[in-house]
């Protein structure tokens, strides 16, 4: 297999001999089989539930609750078993028109149709050698047709279609001999009446044939073409990265990015549209297009700029327990919203495999293509249980629940959370059980030593996922989840320098608009009450009367953080006179910055926006400067422009830095990382380009929770960390 195979050649590994199995092993197994419902699948679930019990004493002693549950599974599996009771293989050459009923697949054969079939689980594999057949397949089945001696492969689910395999007589004459059968079956025509049908050809990409379309494959000249309307992969769809909102949390932009990528991956391979190769973000595009809202008119301009016929965009918001995704499908040319979709989904769904699944579901549902089959997913989960793969089973049951909520599947999900020793999921699914179910099934977790109750100190984290002290500071302690932090957040004695700077930064743009006939410097003395309100504003330097009045009135309305004793300070403002000659053109500089963005030159764009701002204060350009500070990974500038934005803007645009993992809050945190052996380090799934050891302040992170992944060869080891503002956290791992 590899050179490694020789590594232990010098040692006779057979010297480590295992003892033989006990002589009565088969008797013991067969006794146990006889102790339950032999010959049925009932015990599959029983094994899954009870695999840690001592064998001989415990097999039949499951309580009434477990028995009920097991019986339910048994009934279900029996139903599934009988569901596929038809012969699994067969063949027919129709000498006259006839109908075939292959369980949930129905076929109407024209005279001359030559068909062979084999059932492979829920997949019916058909070889259609010749003739024409109209197929109907239910949504819980997959029909795979190898048409015309491998000329084309047709995959259908929940569809109604006709497949015609025609012999090309001319070619048959020319080719002759042994190759006749394969080569003479030259033309395969697929007509789709309804449903989801993919057609593949050996040398070409698989295409999705939309309902109402006809697709023809010519095996001899190796061409494929659309006949008739409806093959719609010509329309181009652009998917903008989701904008984030809700409870501030460092993970949300990461989830949004992963979800957007997942939707793009699906769009590239499935559905009727071609994916436009753009990976732009909604929040950026709106800012660049100066779209104050997401009105179709403005969003269509964004779509047109991206060269898309259809634009998918939307928002991801973190709530207390769930995420909410709101998506829009926009027809760019018509400037109309074709479809909207709002989905609330559990935080537990943010594991990588579930994100991909959700991304697929969101996109396909939005464009109107059925994306999931709850029963099939449940069935797959049951099969995973049988193979002892509890984590995989849990994933399937969660996907099934996301597709269709079902009390029984909730129980299964809970059971597999316990069996796979996954306390967070177990707790989550436990909460969704009825009190009666909880009483009945909690033993499943107890048996696997999975705690369902949290110690009191941790309970807040369960009730308020994603909420920590940092996020509460950012949200001004909004909501019940932040109350406990509010109590502990003691007021400082007096105003700090940072608090003064922050509060002044909020009113400075207004103050700088105060008119003065000539260049002027004004120093003001401000007194602030403990409540944070301004008591008085005094000019400590002589200034133009109009200017003084303007500055005083604005500062009087400034708001500072509450403190125990309040405070006072002096602050200078430097003004350019109205008569001063214009040295710069703010708008031209802004435009140059926009051009830099289009070329991907973020640092240059930032410089231009800064020059524009120096020329003329403009909140819009401040936002652009912040965006480009994030994009160019300039943490210092990001912090500067973050401070200059309003709280609403801050909350809206902070994701720009979060997704780049650029610290934008004053007091970023640092992570020192050591490992043995040296490892490549990813933060929240993104490569930092750094390898351990990482010391000092090399790795600055946004305060909050992060996932740190150590990559050693092909192995990935991931650990959660909580970064606190202004603190350096050190983690050291032995990965050998």
């Amino acid at each position: 297999m590899s050179n490694d195979d020789d590594m232990l050649e010098a040692f006779d590994l057979s010297a480590w001999e295992a003892p033989p199995p006990p002589a009565d092993l088969a008797d013991g197994v067969i006794d146990r089989m006889g102790a339950t419902d032999e010959g049925t699948d009932v015990g599959l679930a029983a094994v899954a539930l009870d695999h840690h019990r001592a064998p001989r004493r415990g097999w039949i002693i499951a309580g009434a609750a477990a028995a009920t549950f097991v019986l339910a599974i048994g009934v279900w599996t029996l139903i599934r078993a009988t569901h596929h009771a038809a012969p699994s293989t067969g063949s027919v050459v129709a000498d006259q028109a006839r109908t075939l009923a292959l369980e949930t697949v129905h076929a109407n054969l024209d005279p001359g149709a030559d068909v062979r079939w084999r059932r492979d689980g829920d997949v019916l594999r058909v070889e259609q050698r010749a003739g024409s057949v109209t197929w109907r397949v239910d949504s819980d089945q997959q029909l795979v047709i190898d048409a015309g001696a491998a000329s084309a492969s047709v995959e259908a689910t929940g569809a109604n279609l006709r497949v015609e395999v025609q012999m090309n007589a001319t070619d048959a004459k020319v080719i002759g001999g042994a190759a006749l059968t394969a080569a003479a079956v030259a033309i395969v025509t697929v007509v789709v009446y309804e449903g989801h049908v993919k057609v593949g050809k050996a040398s070409q990409q698989t295409v999705v044939v939309a309902p109402g379309s006809t697709y023809k494959v010519n095996a001899v000249d190796d061409t494929a073409s659309v006949v008739g309307a409806g093959l719609t992969r010509s329309k181009k769809v652009a998917i903008l990265g989701l904008e984030t909102g809700g409870v501030p949390n460092g993970h949300v932009p990461v989830v949004a990015q992963a979800l957007s990528s997942a939707m793009r991956a699906v769009a590239a391979n499935e559905g009727p549209y071609t994916l436009a190769p753009v990976t732009r973000e909604l929040v950026d595009e709106k800012l660049l297009a100066n779209c104050a809202t997401e009105a179709p008119q403005c969003m269509s301009a964004i779509g047109a700029n991206l060269g898309a016929d259809l634009l998918v965009y939307g928002h991801l918001e973190l709530g207390k327990r769930d995420y909410t995704t709101r998506l829009v499908l926009l027809d760019v040319a018509k400037k109309t919203i074709e479809r909207t979709q709002e989905t609330v989904w559990p935080i537990a769904g943010t594991e990588r495999d579930m994100i991909d699944w959700w991304g697929r579901r969101f996109y396909l549902d939005l464009i109107g293509v059925p994306s999931c089959d709850a029963d099939a997913l449940k069935d797959e989960g049951m099969q995973q249980i049988n193979a002892g793969q509890h984590a995989a089973a849990l994933t399937k049951f969660e996907q099934s629940l996301a597709c269709k909520d079902d009390s029984y599947v909730r129980q299964l999900a809970f059971m597999e959370s316990c069996a796979s020793a996954n306390p967070p999921r177990a707790k989550q699914h436990y909460k969704r059980l009825t009190p009666v179910q909880q009483g009945k099934f909690r033993q499943m977790c107890i048996r696997n030593k999975v705690e369902l109750e949290d110690p009191p100190v941790a309970s807040a984290a369960i009730d308020c996922p994603g909420v920590d002290e940092v996020s509460c500071v950012l949200s001004n302690y909004e909501g019940d989840c932040c109350k406990k932090y509010l109590k502990s957040a003691s007021k400082p004695d007096g105003l700090t320098r940072a608090q003064i700077s922050e509060a002044i930064a909020k009113v400075k743009p207004q103050i700088m608009k105060c008119k003065t006939p000539s260049d002027d410097k004004v120093v003001v003395r401000v007194e602030v009450k403990p409540s944070g309100d301004v008591t008085s504003v005094t000019m400590t330097t002589s200034a133009d009367a109009e200017l003084s009045k303007c500055v005083r009135s604005i500062l009087a309305g400034a708001k500072f953080p509450a403190t125990k004793i309040g405070g006072s300070f002096s602050y200078p403002f430097v003004f350019s006179g109205a008569t001063a000659p214009a040295q710069c053109d703010a708008d031209a500089l802004k435009e140059e910055g926009m051009q830099n963005i289009n070329m991907g030159q973020h640092a240059a764009a930032l410089t231009k926006f800064e020059k524009s701002l120096a020329c003329k204060e403009d909140p819009y350009v401040t936002q652009l400067a912040f965006m480009e500070a994030c994009a160019s990974r300039n943490s210092a500038k990001a912090q500067l422009y973050y401070k200059r934005m309003t709280p609403t803007q801050q909350s809206k645009f902070s994701q720009m830095c979060e997704r780049e993992n650029v610290a934008y809050l004053p007091g970023e945190g640092y992570l020192q990382v050591f490992s043995k052996p040296a490892a490549k380090i990813l933060v929240d799934g993104r490569d930092t380009g750094m390898t351990t050891p990482i010391t000092g302040q090399q790795l600055a992170l946004v305060p909050g929770k992060h996932k740190i992944t150590f990559v050693v060869g092909d192995d990935h080891f991931t650990y959660p960390v909580q970064i606190k503002a202004g603190e350096t956290l050190t983690m050291s791992k032995d990965l050998q």
Partner: protein, 194 residues
């Protein structure tokens, strides 16, 4: 690798007997257990590597109970052979067992008592291998045992453990290197032999 170390027979299980077993025929069940009990028992014994030794028999029984109950759904034409499918179930059950806190203790009975008559050097080597394998992390041990003692290829191991093939390769390489280092130190006289 030494041919003698292969616990897995390459002969496929008789198809007719398999069908009978799938229909619930007890004689066929017994044939199936007889055919696979040695590799399953050995696999579980080695994966536990001295931990929870008292569970080896229970786990072996439970593996076969599961196998027999799931057998009607086993597809002989599917991707996994019958033996790999059975070893998958045994491996999964054993790894689940190893995750339990009460399985953490080492019984120190690392080599089989049944082989007390073997020559001293071979016994010493057996002990050294047992200690070296027991010292490996569970994930590496599973890959090593499936490869070296059950002759599964990378793809089969990847399927059994739900890993990608690259991870299997790196784990196997690391496990072999660690075991080699251990054995070279424990039995320096064998370390240089080729």
């Amino acid at each position: 690798m030494q041919a003698a170390a292969r616990a897995r027979s390459s002969e496929p299980f008789d198809e007719v007997t398999l069908r009978r077993a799938q229909r619930g025929d007890q004689r066929a069940w017994r044939d199936l257990i007889d055919r696979f009990q040695q590799p399953v028992h050995a696999l579980i014994w080695r994966l536990l590597a001295g931990r929870a030794r008292h569970r080896v028999e229970d786990l072996t029984q439970e593996t076969f109970v599961r196998v027999l109950r799931a057998l009607p759904k086993f597809d002989p034409a599917g991707t996994a052979s019958l033996s790999t499918w059975i070893l998958t179930i045994a491996t999964r059950m054993t790894l689940n067992e190893l995750r339990r806190p009460e399985s953490a203790g080492l019984d120190r009975e690392l080599i089989s008592e049944a082989r007390a008559d073997v020559d001293a050097e071979r016994k010493r080597l057996g002990e050294a291998i047992a200690a070296g394998v027991a010292a490996l992390p569970d994930a590496q041990r599973a890959v090593l045992v499936l490869r070296e003692y059950h002759d599964l290829d990378y793809a089969e191991i990847a399927a059994v453990l739900e890993l990608d093939a690259g991870t299997v390769k790196s784990r196997l390489s690391r496990a072999r290197a660690a075991l080699r280092a251990h054995l070279t130190e424990a039995m320096p006289e064998l370390g240089g032999r080729k």
